[in-house]
Symmetry: D3
Amino acid sequence: MKRDCDLALQPQGQSLASRYSGRTVLAIGAHPDDLEIGIGGMLAKLARDGAKVVMVIASVPKDFEVRMAEARRGAEILGCELKLLLDGGPQRLEDVKTCDLVGMLDGIIREREPAAVLTHSNADFHNDHLLIYNACLPTQRLRYFDFFCFHPSMCRPVPTAFHPRVYVDVSDTIDTKMQAIKAHASQFRCRALSTDMYREFAHVQGRLVGVEYAEGLDVMRMLLA
Amino acid sequence: MKRDCDLALQPQGQSLASRYSGRTVLAIGAHPDDLEIGIGGMLAKLARDGAKVVMVIASVPKDFEVRMAEARRGAEILGCELKLLLDGGPQRLEDVKTCDLVGMLDGIIREREPAAVLTHSNADFHNDHLLIYNACLPTQRLRYFDFFCFHPSMCRPVPTAFHPRVYVDVSDTIDTKMQAIKAHASQFRCRALSTDMYREFAHVQGRLVGVEYAEGLDVMRMLLA
Amino acid sequence: MKRDCDLALQPQGQSLASRYSGRTVLAIGAHPDDLEIGIGGMLAKLARDGAKVVMVIASVPKDFEVRMAEARRGAEILGCELKLLLDGGPQRLEDVKTCDLVGMLDGIIREREPAAVLTHSNADFHNDHLLIYNACLPTQRLRYFDFFCFHPSMCRPVPTAFHPRVYVDVSDTIDTKMQAIKAHASQFRCRALSTDMYREFAHVQGRLVGVEYAEGLDVMRMLLA
Amino acid sequence: MKRDCDLALQPQGQSLASRYSGRTVLAIGAHPDDLEIGIGGMLAKLARDGAKVVMVIASVPKDFEVRMAEARRGAEILGCELKLLLDGGPQRLEDVKTCDLVGMLDGIIREREPAAVLTHSNADFHNDHLLIYNACLPTQRLRYFDFFCFHPSMCRPVPTAFHPRVYVDVSDTIDTKMQAIKAHASQFRCRALSTDMYREFAHVQGRLVGVEYAEGLDVMRMLLA
Amino acid sequence: MKRDCDLALQPQGQSLASRYSGRTVLAIGAHPDDLEIGIGGMLAKLARDGAKVVMVIASVPKDFEVRMAEARRGAEILGCELKLLLDGGPQRLEDVKTCDLVGMLDGIIREREPAAVLTHSNADFHNDHLLIYNACLPTQRLRYFDFFCFHPSMCRPVPTAFHPRVYVDVSDTIDTKMQAIKAHASQFRCRALSTDMYREFAHVQGRLVGVEYAEGLDVMRMLLA
Amino acid sequence: MKRDCDLALQPQGQSLASRYSGRTVLAIGAHPDDLEIGIGGMLAKLARDGAKVVMVIASVPKDFEVRMAEARRGAEILGCELKLLLDGGPQRLEDVKTCDLVGMLDGIIREREPAAVLTHSNADFHNDHLLIYNACLPTQRLRYFDFFCFHPSMCRPVPTAFHPRVYVDVSDTIDTKMQAIKAHASQFRCRALSTDMYREFAHVQGRLVGVEYAEGLDVMRMLLA
């Protein structure tokens, strides 16, 4: 689809690379597929541009082997390291206390010393996503990383009140993102759900900032040094 | 584009027709093209289904003849009556006091006895749009009409924090809407601006409620009797 | 009490009946009496006008027999079917995981195929009410029903920040509502609490839309087709 | 109407008198009747308890003699001093620049040295009320007075999103308030509008804090010394 | 540091003493040190001026003996009674159901009959703080006390969206507050964390209302009688 | 004052320089001194690091020569170009229509092609500041620049609800900022107002992100490419 904006208006060279290259970015999602849907394009771009990107999946509630295989494939496509927080088999996030979740996330923050943390937002409507958001909030006390929240991630469309403030140009990596989402066949193809809406949504987001495809982020804390 | 939602999930027969048929609906926009962009599909549908739809344009700031001709063509395509609030030539909304604007709108409310009023929202970023929104608010005291606000209407994309609560299925009238928008050639074709984004945006909105195309509305007041 | 508004200003014939008649409406409350207090007038009206109304009570925390008898009596007065989610005796909502609650509600959505779902709002201050609200949110992904939230339901008055957008005219059914509330004698008469405030509150709400009595709803998602 | 709350729960002796007695309170309304409707009970109580209460009316848009006579009668009933900001005949607030309004209000603040300022809120929907609210905001820089906003004042009911945080017990002065409102016959009796809703609304507000009648205030700034 | 505001602008004698003297104020914090950090200056002032101040600590998650000793020392410095909600040793708040927490807090409200309750706000980011806030909300139904929320209390600085509406002048008691915070040596000195930021923050808050040091509160409900 | 945070936690090398060096940044303030107070540290840093920074002052309401001299001195200290929007002598912003203001700002955007625009926020309480904010909003349609809002700028402290999302480290340029503020002697020294609060406030903001001094920004739109 041809974009109708004037080329002269397009933004130039403000690069993610220069911001996070050579540093660690932690993306923390409740379940496999959340990170691919929410920020797959951004993660692929960060990884390509030299950041160390760790995809942290909090838990796999069921179909452990199938979903872990999909998660590994998704992370591989995006070029990221995969880490499962509650490992050893299927686990439900609600069976873990928030204070224990915070403790585990604190451990990762201390070990990985991330320059940025990305997670679900409080505009999400899935309870496990909110649990992860709530557990990430206090980790901010340990280190002054940039802290961003991504759009509610869902397999089927539902209205939400998420309001992005920062947009990431993912025009280069939208195909990689779509491929990573499709790696989660148990969630989409096997349920006869199309993934078209993610591409279309990224295209509409892109229009708002003059690029072909974008992902929107809310900003909790960001330092311009 | 094929929609991927299960047919069994689709909403049924809750009809605008039964709500407003045989009654008057007032749509109030700041300038020509605002109503076509914001709610063209809804207005076409209402008109088709037997409502008396009045498109009130507050003012034409310049190029009076050209833009009025476009406005007339737009209203004709949608099947609506057109009314210019500040008539007799080009006028700027800011040159009129809000109390005078309210007085004029009060007059229309009293004369037309609308069942619904639709206008700009306070999430808009064009000052004239906000002036019209502010002038519509107090007209609510005169009559218990439904009061809805539409998405910020703009010729070029800008992020806004508009959050719809009601969605209107415009799958039947999206083509009519697009035609009515294109009637405003001075705003789009002559400026080499595409109108594709309106169709794409309606498609994304439609996904959220299981229809092909939708327009989103915020609700200020609505009675279910 | 005589209403002072001009008859000519009153809204006409926008009917709930035409919207939900012959279809299923699910009302989901945390405990017995919540639905009667929040939307008893609307439910009575829907049932009278031909909708299939199911009152889902999530749990009875104690006094199981007494409160279930009151709940049955309340539902009978309103003309609705009663369904207890956590059945078999007294249960506390907090003893059930949200993912299990969502699973149970998903089952009801799939079985009943509702045209509308009504539940507590996030402006409530009772934790069990918020648990139910949170568990209802993700059920929206399964089906495109209208989704409304009602005013915080409480036995004693407490300020809340609930802001209605849709009002339901319950002038015809306010007496039925009051009778259904009083069926919960263990909560009111036995605790020497009056129910007068519910009638008075509905009267004040009614003033805002020109009817004798009204109930206010927030709108999460609604389709005008 | 008998109130059903337990006497033992009722609040005790936290007195406006001890807070503002012997000091000046400025109430600033756009037009005659706004202050009576919004905070007539509070002003009567303050005046009775020894505060110097100045009712500032910004302007009289028309019917100057009639409305000024009503305003004087209203202030007399409440026991307050009356001051007209734009005097010398009918004037429209919009014909005065905000910077000039701020200048006039600054002058009053400097001269009267108020302990509290009360005015319209940003939840109001009348443009003149918002102009006054906006002009009062910067006067806060001159002096550390308590700054409160009152409920949108209107002759006919319209839904608003005003959310009170402080409630003033006006059980003793509700009759005085009603009498002061009725002094504005040109707005109510002559237009066949009843004033019942103000008493009823105060009664519902009172329920929220355990008194017979209350007025709600939003708090912009308040010092507990 | 010399304050640059004009003395003539300073607020006068609106006293906490006259509001709560001889009455009970309940301050409810999740853990030892929260109340000292959030409202230590206010509590010291209330106690000094004749209020009966009860510091309720919900739980001590670990290091029970050390932290209880620090809590006792903190309360002693502030002149307040100390009460541990979950006593008998280290306990985690998340191991208690909210309905049980509410039950315990209800018991304290009934027994102590407070004139004011102060607790964490919903702008906090520590899950235990939010649990306490949520459990305090419904206690409002039992009694018409003033209900205030204090700034997120934290050992290390994190941005939050807390917005105070009422400010308490703690110029007289800031040193007592600082001493009480330092009593929690296990949280500060032993972790090499300075407490300077609390004094600095109180100084900046004070500037906003013309006093040397202040603590900010959000207001959920307050009666001016 | 020694900062107590652990050096290991401090953020590294995410540089403004790499983002805006060699590009144009437009800072738009209502009057002389607003930009120095709001973002003086950031502007000095941008200019030092190679950005072309243009300080646009909308108008000088009075004392034209004195204040223009101060503005020139302020801009010189910060290393920025100064541009007066309404030139030729004292002018009041309210005497210009918003549509004309937008036209003038559009012209500057087209001519300067900024990579970022910084202006007042909608949390400000000075009417002229809000006029400028409103006039900047629609300029976003012309070009995809980053768009930031700064903290309400004021000569005397007043509580506001501004909530920053991005923080700029101004530790290197805080002294330059303070010097630039003091260049506005007519606003501070001549009125016996101290400027200490700006340094103190920047210090408190800095604590939140682990640097010595910071300025907070709200983010309307930002692209990470």
